[in-house]
């Protein structure tokens, strides 16, 4: 499976250079905008775009036909894509955190803000990956745009308000014993379960696929 990760990285090399330029651009837009949440929202988008692009490369060059006949099991092929998604989310979160600090947020706020990426990134990925494996990357892109629009709206709007919401808000009276970090950990755990369900669904879809 190491070979698969190397292959995806090689394919994505050129794209990554372009993404870095775009990220820098968005960073300055966020700076001008005064909205660190905006920057985080974009980073979520990139986190999910990267595995999608990896799958697109495979589909367009006929790699799957080779991979399925090799010693790699179909499960490993899918696992490598989810791993890439996870790596993308982690790296995006780190960049979002750093970016957020430069934009003026404190370390704790920045970490919290970027940690919020995890649930959103995972939920987007969990929804999109099976769609892509079942219907192809083209149709997946439509689903992607819909989910990204929703994600940006939520993060940009809710992001800066999170400290207040998690504070003494009535909404959280029921879980008043949980700090916002525990709540976030719980949410991330829940999303991880969702991610696993998505993985097994993708394995099933890909397992039945004919090339």
């Amino acid at each position: 499976m190491k070979g698969l990760l190397i292959k995806d990285f090689i394919n994505l090399r050129q794209q990554l250079k372009i993404y870095i330029i775009i990220i820098i651009l968005w960073f300055f837009i966020s700076l001008w905008n005064g909205q660190p949440g905006f920057f985080s929202g974009i980073m979520v988008m990139f986190a999910v775009m990267i595995p999608m692009t990896a799958v697109a490369y495979d589909d367009s060059c006929g790699w799957n036909v080779f991979a399925v006949t090799s010693p790699l099991s179909r499960k490993k092929i899918i696992l490598s894509k989810y791993l890439i998604m996870l790596i993308s989310i982690v790296v995006s979160a780190v960049i979002a955190c750093a970016g957020s600090m430069v934009l003026g947020e404190s370390l704790e706020e920045s970490i919290f803000l970027s940690a919020v990426l995890f649930p959103f990134g995972i939920i987007m990925g969990a929804v999109l990956m099976p769609v892509i494996f079942k219907f192809g990357v083209e149709k997946g892109r439509f689903a992607f745009i819909a989910v990204v629009a929703a994600a940006i709206a939520v993060i940009s709007f809710v992001g800066p308000k999170l400290p207040d919401l998690f504070g003494e808000g009535a909404f959280f009276n029921a879980v008043i014993s949980m700090s916002r970090w525990s709540w976030l950990a719980f949410l991330t755990g829940f999303m991880a379960v969702l991610g696993c369900i998505s993985f097994f669904l993708s394995v099933r879809i890909y397992g039945k696929k004919e090339f």
Binding site: G3, Y57, C61, W63, F66, S70, S73
Partner: protein, 282 residues
Amino acid sequence: MNNAIEITGLSKKYDGFKLENINIVLPKGYIMGFIGENGAGKTTVIKAMTGLIRYDSGDIKLFGESFKNIGAAVRENIGVVMDDYGLPPEADTKDINKIMKGIYSTWNSRAFFRYTEKFGLPQNKRIKSYSTGMKRKLSIAVALSHNSRLLILDEATSGLDPVARDELLDILREFIQDEDNSVFISSHILSDLEKVCDYITLIHEGRIVFSDEKDELLASYAIARCTVKTFENINKSAVVAFRRTEFGIEALVKRQMVNEALITDNATVEDIMVMMIKEEKR
């Protein structure tokens, strides 16, 4: 375990096409050529054999092991080259080596670079800038660079120039020197197959027409070119197919069953295939 490939009763149905009761046996150490028209089912059989598609009924055994139980270890021994598979466009040969090292536990880097050099493949160019022929050669280099005991090639020679095709045939001959190695190759270039194959299997409209030793095939059949009158005197059960020409009749006959006095020419594999198929269509 004497057979590299053993297919029994393979059937697969699609809308508008079906594979029916395919039976193919390739003994270990030999080369089998798989021929047929476009759309006859060659690629479908090969895809079933390599796990790319599922089949409705029948059994496929590779190296004596039922396909359903084939694990990673057996796949290390199978090298596949297909018409529609591709390697990562952004990679060059060094990258491919790194990738394959992480996929095949029996990957042999030295052998791989030896083949890429032998095939004249450029070292630092990305695959997206390769010609079709170069991509094909690279795929073949990959298939030969892990512990392949069975090569399955689908139209691997199409897109190659005559010199490259000849080189490939030499490589297959070299590969088969090892008695444990076998090759299953489909191709439209029947003259190539005739040069190098031990067995020939013809598929037509999803059914196997014949699967025989090549030498026996060529010995069994002959082409009789004669006048209509002479043709009428030939034992009808000896005639497999015939067609009218400017000069009379051209018939594919079974050598053993015709009069020794009848003048016949040797039939090539192409003659046999084309005439049999045209006869089926009449």
